[in-house]
Amino acid sequence: MNSRIIVRNLGKKFGNLDVLDSISFDVINGEFLSILGPSGCGKTTLLFLLQGFLNPTKGTIKVKGKTGFVFQDDNLPKWDRGKTGFVFQDDDLIPWKTVKENIEMGPKNLGKSKSEIKKITGKLLKEIGMEGFGDKYPHQISGGMKKRVSVARCLANNPQIIFMDEPFSSLDYLTRIKIHDFVMKLLKKRGITAIMVTHDIQESLKLSDRIVIISGTPAKIKGILKPEKNEGVEQKRPHSDIIKAVRCQIIKNRIQVTDFVPKTGAIKGTLKHEKKEHNVASNDYYEKKILKLIGNDNG
């Protein structure tokens, strides 16, 4: 396993309040990992620990940099300069900087030349479809545009990892769907590792390669899921059709079900489609599983 970050026995206390305890997991190079849990369970604290905004009370976060895995005495992860990006939940564009100036922040501080900065900014503005908006201020653009600029600002430094703290929660449903696709394309194209904190089960299922589920006080890991992506199948045959037709398919022996919830039709199994076998699972199936793992700890 090509790990990028190794988290072991991580814990965080604020005064007497135990927020996180015994958190251990690995982040694999290039994956999209979601940290899922109920509101207020300590997801953002975990993300802040990974980025190095906060010091852990106990445990270690090892980060693979240029010189391999590094661990500092002060328990802070030692990131190579400019190799991480952070997208916040709320509107995080600097209001007193134009769209262009926001994107330029990273490269400017990495000591890039003016022509290089101009090239990077121009390319990114084109990529996010905002070529004519470089001189606008954040309050002059829409919420979806702001989010695109925010991601572009992270990408300007050519980071290896992006941390996202409920990045799409402030967007309306339609914009959110568009931004999901847009962000995924940008990240996959560059092979960037992404860690996203969310409380939205469907969003995490849609975007993630793996989902770390945390809950409780102090929050502990309740499970790590690796959802089947159903790639290739969904496009040719809508997933909802599979669920509706599940009984029929079982009879025809085209779906070998390993797990089936009759009441909702939530399934996990193998679908034979055009002489190929695909592992399929409905989102309902994972949602039930996640809710069961979280239990009644928070909420």
Partner: protein
């Protein structure tokens, strides 16, 4: 602007009319025409304006620069806020006008006393505005800068100072406004030149008002140019 000029002209007209109707003593109650003629005769008008404005600009500028620096320190460093900040909080409640005689005794009748008073007047509103401005910069913006590993100079200049610029400008505007009162008071008591020295003439009072209006208008124009991102009016 048209409404402003119009109201000004109406007041002048009523003033002139009152003088004519009630046949007032022009020495005690001069009409606008009397004032205008007297001002045209005043030999030192422009040199007085220049001297007063120079004092105002120098004293206020020093107050703004030091006020911003102190606001930056108390706004960002907890220890400085709890020590120096508390002392300054006590000092800012001492009205500058109460210090006019004291400063004249300490620093003499020359320029130092007046500039020191103007510094004192501008310093506190600018310091407190900068302090509040720094405190009001969203935590997420500080974290964005941290995540992008911006250097210290960039952080101070582009995040802290620029982020609190609207507050700094508001504080400076208040400082300039108070500065006019203190300037006149100090020039009335201890000066041989300046608008305040000759403020007993009604014409000079009017000139002072007009200069104040011009300075404020220019200041607002510059402020707007400096903060194109603001979503509120000055």
């Amino acid at each position: 602007m048209i409404y402003g000029i119009g109201s000004f002209l109406v007041i002048v007209f009523l003033w002139q009319l009152a003088g004519m109707i009630f046949d007032l003593n022009s020495t005690l109650y001069p009409s606008p025409i009397d004032v205008l003629l007297a001002m045209l005769d005043a030999k030192n008008l422009f040199s007085d304006i220049a001297i007063s404005m120079a004092r105002l600009i120098i004293g206020t500028s020093i107050g703004v620069v030091i006020g911003v620096a102190c606001g930056l320190i108390t706004g960002k460093i907890y220890f400085a806020d709890k020590t120096f900040g508390q002392v300054s909080n006590f000092l800012r409640f001492i009205p500058p006008l109460a210090l006019v005689p004291l400063f004249l005794i300490w620093f003499g009748i020359g320029e130092i006393s007046k500039i020191s008073l103007l510094f004192w007047t501008a310093f506190f509103p600018v310091w407190i505005s900068t302090h509040i401005g720094i405190k009001n910069i969203g935590k997420r913006f500080i974290l964005v800068a941290k995540s992008l590993k911006v250097n210290r100079i960039y952080f101070i200049k582009d995040i802290l100072l620029k982020g609190s610029l609207t507050y700094i400008l508001s504080g400076s505007r208040i400082g300039i406004g108070f500065g006019f009162s203190v300037l006149v008071a100090s020039e009335m008591i201890g000066a041989y030149s300046g608008i305040g020295h000759r403020i007993s003439m009604i014409g000079y009072i009017i000139v002072l008002g007009i200069i104040g209006l011009i300075v404020d208008t220019i200041f607002v124009m510059i402020s707007k140019k400096m903060t194109p991102w603001r979503t509120h009016e000055f």
